[in-house]
C-alpha cells in the first residue's frame, strides 16, 4: 500500500494501482472515454490527464502507476481546458446526431459533452464519412461515430480471443477494420457492442425500439440459454423484450454470447410453444400440463414394466441450469432406474 494525495485528500491504495484506479476506488471522478476496467489500458483519449506535483507535463491517469507520496490534482483549470479542447476535437469529427442515435441516454461521449457544456465547436472541419454495409443480422457498425478508443479491439482480443477487428490505417484516416474491410464475420458475441462508449456499435435488433432510460422497463434476470447463468438486464417495452444488456458488476462481468445478447426474439415469437402438445392420430394436439404429465407417467411406467428400465433413456438440455440437470439425472437414475442419461452439449 502506498500513501498518495488526490485533490488534497490523503488516501492509501495498493502500489500496483494506476492513478485512475486509485481515484475510482475513492470515489474521485476522472473523465475517460477509452479506459475500460476489464481491459488493458490504452491511453488514447487523453481525457483522464491529471497533474502530478513535480512533473513538467500532465500525465494520463489510466496508464500511470501511483507512487509513494504522489500529489495529484485531477481538476485544475488548465486540465479542464484541455479536456474541453479534446472533447471539442472529438465532436468535430462526430455526426452529432444524438436525436436519432440509439446510444442517446447511455452514451459516455454525450454525457461528457453535456458536462462540459459543448455546443458550439470552433474546430469544425472534415469529418470521416463511411458507408455502412454490414450484412450480418446482429451488429450495426456506424464507424462515423467511432472515436477510436480501441475498446472493441481489446474486448475482441482480450475477452473473446477472436481478433476479428483491429486498427487499420493511421492518423485521421484510422479506422477499426475487419480483414480487408469485409463485412463483419465473427462470433457476434457483441462484447464490442457492450464496451463501445458511443453509438458506433449497436445491436441491429435494437433499432428504433426505444432507448434505455426512456420508456423502457429494465428487468434484471438470468439468461435462460445455458447453465452458465449469466446475469442479464432485459429491456422491456409494452411487455416485449427489445434489448438485452448485462451489467459489469455481475458474475459474468457484463460479457455475454451471441445467443444471450441477441437471441431474445423467441420470447415473443408466435411459433413458440407455450403449452404441451400430445400426438394423437399422427397430429399434435394441445393439452393441459396435468394431462401431459399423466400421459408421460403412464407411458414411462408401461415401457418400464414391459421392457425394463434400460429401455428408457433421458436426454437433457444445455439450456437447463446445473440444478435442473442434476435433478433430471437423479430422476432418471433413482426414479426411472437407468443410467441412460445424456445431454445435448455432448452430442
Amino acid at each position: 500500500m502506498v500513501k498518495i494525495r488526490i485533490d488534497g485528500r490523503s488516501i492509501e491504495v495498493p502500489g500496483s494501482s494506476t492513478i485512475l484506479e486509485a481515484a475510482r476506488q475513492n470515489d474521485i471522478y476522472i473523465p475517460t472515454l477509452c479506459h475500460h476496467p476489464k481491459l488493458t489500458p490504452f491511453g488514447g483519449c487523453r481525457l483522464c490527464i491529471v497533474e502530478i506535483k513535480g512533473m513538467p507535463k500532465p500525465v494520463a491517469s489510466c496508464t500511470t502507476q501511483v507512487a509513494e507520496g504522489m500529489e495529484i490534482a485531477t481538476s485544475t483549470d488548465a486540465i479542464e481546458d484541455i479536456r474541453k479542447l479534446v472533447l471539442e476535437l472529438i465532436l468535430s469529427d462526430h455526426p452529432n446526431d444524438c436525436m436519432v442515435c440509439e446510444k442517446t441516454g447511455s452514451c459516455t461521449l454525450q454525457d461528457l459533452a453535456y458536462a462540459y457544456g459543448i455546443r458550439e465547436n470552433e474546430f469544425s472541419g472534415e469529418r470521416r464519412t463511411y458507408a455502412t454495409r454490414d450484412g450480418n443480422p446482429f451488429i450495426e457498425r456506424d464507424l462515423e461515430k467511432c472515436i477510436l478508443c480501441g475498446r472493441c479491439v481489446k474486448a475482441c482480443d482480450e475477452i473473446q480471443g477472436v481478433e476479428a477487428i483491429d486498427f487499420g490505417y493511421r492518423g485521421f484516416k484510422s479506422k477499426i477494420c475487419t480483414t480487408y474491410e469485409e463485412d463483419l464475420d465473427c462470433e457476434f458475441c457483441g462484447q464490442c457492442v457492450a464496451v463501445c462508449p458511443t453509438g458506433a456499435l449497436t445491436g441491429k435488433s435494437w433499432k428504433l425500439q426505444g432507448r434505455p432510460g426512456g420508456s423502457l422497463r429494465e428487468v434484471d434476470t438470468i439468461c435462460p440459454y445455458c447453465g452458465t447463468g449469466c446475469n442479464i438486464t432485459v429491456h422491456v417495452k409494452r411487455n416485449e423484450i427489445v434489448r438485452i444488456t448485462s451489467a459489469e458488476d455481475t458474475a459474468n462481468e457484463g460479457w455475454l454470447c451471441v445467443k444471450g445478447r441477441f437471441g431474445y426474439k423467441f420470447a415473443s415469437s408466435p411459433d413458440r410453444l407455450t403449452s404441451p402438445l400430445i400426438r394423437r392420430d399422427g397430429a399434435f394436439v394441445e393439452a393441459g400440463w396435468d394431462e401431459a404429465l399423466d400421459y408421460i407417467v403412464s407411458q414411462l411406467g408401461g415401457i418400464k414394466s414391459r421392457h425394463g428400465s434400460d429401455a428408457i433413456a433421458g436426454l437433457s438440455s444445455a439450456r437447463c441450469t446445473n440444478e435442473e440437470n442434476y435433478v433430471f439425472q437423479k430422476f432418471m437414475r433413482a426414479g426411472v432406474g437407468t443410467n441412460n442419461v445424456d445431454h445435448c452439449a455432448r452430442l
Binding site: 491511453g43 490527464i49 479542447l85 474546430f123 472534415e126 486498427f167 492518423g171 485521421f172 484510422s174
Partner: protein, 592 residues
C-alpha cells in the same frame, strides 16, 4: 603510400545521383588501358568512398598522387580521360576543373569526429576501418576496462543523444546497466524520418563499422547480448553496406560468441522499417520491431526498464553511436573540449534549402548560425536574402535571420523555440512563405500521426485545415489565436513526442513571423508570393515577345495570343500553377 596513386570518386547518395558510377567505371577503364602501356596498375587503385560532404558539386573526384591531394568537381565520365592523361600520367592537374575557394571554405570551420573517417576509409572493407584504428576502442573497452569505466567515460564526454531530444547518453547507459532482466537489448535507431535530414544515412553509408563498434561498446556497457538496427527501407545502399559490415565483423570475431576473446556474446540484426515516421519514437519503434503497428505506448514504463519484448532496452541514434569509438579512442576530455558547457562535442547537420553549398557538415556545438550559413554554406543561393533557418524538421521551428548570431546548441535553440533535432537545417530565403512552411510540416506530421490519441489525430488535422484556409485567403479573424490555443493543447495532451512537438513549427513561425500570418488572414496577401490561391498572374505587354512558350506550358489553356504579339492570361481559366512564370525567358510574366 607516398608514390601510389589513388583515385577517389564520390559514391555517396549525391555522387551516385550525379552519375558517380559512370565516372568510376570510366576511371577503371582508362587506368587499365593506360596500364597496358605505362604499367601503372600496381600503383593505382580506385576506392569507393562515402560522402565527401559537398554533394552539390558532385561528382567529386579526389586524385592522390605523389603525396598530394587534388580535388575535382562536377566531373562527368567524358572528362575522366583527360584527368588520367594530363594529371595521373602527365603530372599536370587539369586546372579548370579543380574545386574553387568556396570548396575549401566549406571545410574550414568544420570539425570532423563522426565524419572523420567518412570518405577516407572504404565503407565496404573492414580492413580499411581497422587500419584507421577501428575496433581498437571496442577491444580496449572490453578487455581493459569495466562497463562502469565505459559509462563514466561517456558520461564525462558530455555526449547527448543526437536523435533530437538530447538525453545524456552516459546516463541512459547507466540506467540500462542498472535495469534488471534475463536479456537486454541495444537498438540503433536509424529510422531517419525527418524530411530534409540525411546525416544517419551518410554515416551508415560512409562508415558503417563506426556504428557497429559503437553498438558493441554500448552493449558491453549495459550488458546487452542482442542488438538491432532499425533502418529505413528507403535507404537501400545503407542497408547493403551495413549488412556487409555486420558480416565482416562477425567473420573477425567482433560479433558473435566470445567477442574479442572475452566471454561476451553479442549479435546484431537488421530490421527494416516499413515507412512510418512515428517509428522514430522509441516505443513505436519497439512495437515495429515486434512486428506490430507502430503505435506508441505510454511512458512510464520506459524502454530502458521495459522495452523490446518487455526487456530492458537502450535505444541510441546512429550518430550518437558513431561518436562512441572516437570518444573511447581519444578520451572524454578531448571530446568535451569541443562545444559548449552543456552541449559537448560536434554535430552533423544536413544543410539544405536555398544555400549555395548544400551538403553534409559537421561542426562543433555552439558555432553560430552565421558561421554555418555564410562561411560554410557560402551564403544564400542566387543572392537572395536569408529569411530564416528551419531546424529540427517537423518537431522543430525556425530561427529568423535577425538571430543569426545564435549559438547552435541544445539549449540556445530550445530557448529560441526550436530544437537541434536530428540535424536537418533548411535555409529559407525571401521567396519562402512561413505560413506555407508551417502548413508543410503540419501536413507531414498529420499524415504520419499514428492515430492513437485524439489531440494528435484530430488536432493536427484541424491545425492543417486552419493553416490551409489561411493560405487560401479564407482565413478568419481569430484564426491565429485559435492556432495558438490548439497548438498549446496538442503539445500538452498528446501521448508521444510526435504529437507533443507537432505544433512547434506553427508556434515558432507565428512567434517570429506574426506579421506574415496577419497579412494572410487580414489582407489576404502572401508577402512571399507563394500561396497560390492569393496570387494572380499577368503578362506585361511591353516585355512579351510572343514566343508562345507560356502558351504551350499552360496546362489550363488560359493563355491566348498570336505569334510574335503580346499574349494574355485569362484570370478565369488560370489555375495559378506558375508554369508560365517559370518558362518565360523575358520576365514578362508578373505574379502578385
Amino acid at each position: 603510400m607516398s608514390n601510389s596513386t589513388v583515385v577517389r570518386v564520390c559514391m555517396g547518395p549525391g555522387g551516385i545521383a550525379a552519375g558517380g558510377k559512370g565516372v568510376l567505371d570510366e576511371f577503371e577503364k582508362c587506368l587499365s588501358e593506360k596500364n597496358i602501356q605505362a604499367s601503372v596498375r600496381e600503383n593505382c587503385s580506385s576506392h569507393q568512398v562515402g560522402c565527401l560532404g559537398l554533394c552539390a558539386r558532385d561528382v567529386l573526384v579526389e586524385v592522390h598522387t605523389n603525396g598530394a591531394k587534388t580535388t575535382y568537381q562536377y566531373i562527368k565520365p567524358d572528362m575522366v580521360e583527360r584527368i588520367v592523361t594530363e594529371h595521373i600520367s602527365g603530372g599536370q592537374p587539369v586546372s579548370e576543373w579543380l574545386v574553387d575557394d568556396a570548396f575549401s571554405a566549406f571545410y574550414k570551420k568544420q570539425v570532423k569526429v563522426v565524419l572523420s573517417d567518412v570518405g577516407k576509409v572504404d565503407p565496404e572493407d573492414i580492413d580499411a576501418y581497422v587500419a584507421a584504428g577501428g575496433y581498437e576502442s571496442a577491444r580496449e573497452a572490453l578487455t581493459a576496462g569495466s562497463p562502469r569505466d565505459v559509462i563514466d567515460e561517456v558520461k564525462s564526454s558530455g555526449l547527448r543523444g543526437r536523435g533530437g531530444a538530447g538525453f545524456p547518453t552516459g546516463l541512459k547507459w547507466e540506467l540500462g546497466r542498472a535495469a534488471t532482466g534475463d536479456i537486454k537489448y541495444i537498438i540503433c535507431n536509424a529510422d531517419e524520418g525527418d524530411p530534409g535530414a540525411f546525416m544517419d544515412r551518410a554515416v551508415i553509408e560512409g562508415n558503417p563499422h563506426s556504428v557497429v563498434e559503437g553498438m558493441i561498446i554500448g552493449a558491453y556497457a549495459i550488458g546487452a547480448s542482442k542488438g538491432y538496427v532499425y533502418i529505413r527501407a528507403e535507404y537501400p545502399l545503407a542497408v547493403e553496406r551495413l549488412k556487409l559490415a555486420l558480416h565482416q565483423a562477425t567473420d573477425r570475431g567482433f560479433l558473435g560468441k566470445g567477442i574479442f576473446g572475452t566471454s561476451m556474446d553479442f549479435d546484431i540484426e537488421i530490421k527494416l522499417g516499413a515507412g512510418a515516421f512515428v517509428c522514430g519514437e522509441e516505443t513505436a519503434l519497439i512495437a515495429s520491431i515486434e512486428g506490430q503497428r507502430g503505435m506508441p505506448r505510454p511512458k512510464p514504463p520506459f524502454p530502458v526498464n521495459k522495452g523490446l519484448w518487455q526487456r530492458p532496452t537502450v535505444i541510441n541514434n546512429v550518430e550518437t553511436l558513431a561518436n562512441i569509438p572516437y570518444i573511447i579512442r581519444n578520451g572524454c576530455a578531448w571530446y568535451a573540449s569541443y562545444g559548449t558547457e552543456k552541449s559537448k562535442g560536434t554535430k552533423v547537420f544536413a544543410l539544405t534549402g536555398k544555400i549555395r553549398n548544400p551538403g553534409l557538415i559537421e561542426v562543433p556545438m555552439g558555432i553560430t548560425l552565421r558561421e554555418i550559413i555564410y562561411e560554410i554554406g557560402g551564403g544564400i543561393e542566387n543572392d537572395k536574402n536569408l529569411k530564416a533557418v528551419q531546424t529540427g524538421g517537423p518537431s522543430g521551428g525556425c530561427i529568423p535571420a535577425s538571430m543569426l548570431d545564435l549559438n547552435v546548441d541544445y539549449d540556445s535553440l530550445a530557448r529560441a523555440g526550436s530544437i537541434v533535432g536530428s540535424g536537418g537545417m533548411i535555409v529559407l530565403d525571401e521567396d519562402d512563405c512561413m505560413v506555407n512552411m508551417a502548413k508543410y510540416f503540419v501536413h507531414f506530421t498529420q499524415t504520419e500521426s499514428c492515430g492513437k490519441c485524439v489531440p494528435c489525430r484530430v488536432g493536427t488535422k484541424r491545425l492543417l485545415e486552419i493553416l490551409t484556409r489561411i493560405t487560401k485567403g479564407e482565413g478568419r479573424t481569430g484564426d491565429i489565436e485559435l492556432l495558438e490555443r490548439l497548438s498549446a493543447g496538442i503539445k500538452t495532451a498528446s501521448l508521444c513526442g510526435l504529437g507533443q512537438t507537432a505544433p512547434n513549427p506553427v508556434l515558432s513561425n507565428i512567434r517570429y513571423f506574426r506579421d506574415e500570418f496577419i497579412a494572410h488572414v487580414r489582407d489576404k496577401k502572401c508577402p512571399a508570393k507563394v500561396c497560390r490561391e492569393m496570387l494572380s498572374y499577368r503578362i506585361i505587354e511591353k516585355f512579351c515577345r510572343g514566343c508562345g512558350a507560356c502558351l504551350r506550358a499552360c496546362p489550363g489553356g488560359a493563355i491566348t495570343g498570336e505569334k510574335k504579339k503580346p499574349h494574355v492570361i485569362d484570370p478565369g481559366k488560370c489555375i495559378r500553377c506558375g508554369a508560365c512564370f517559370d518558362v518565360c525567358k523575358f520576365k514578362s510574366v508578373e505574379k502578385e
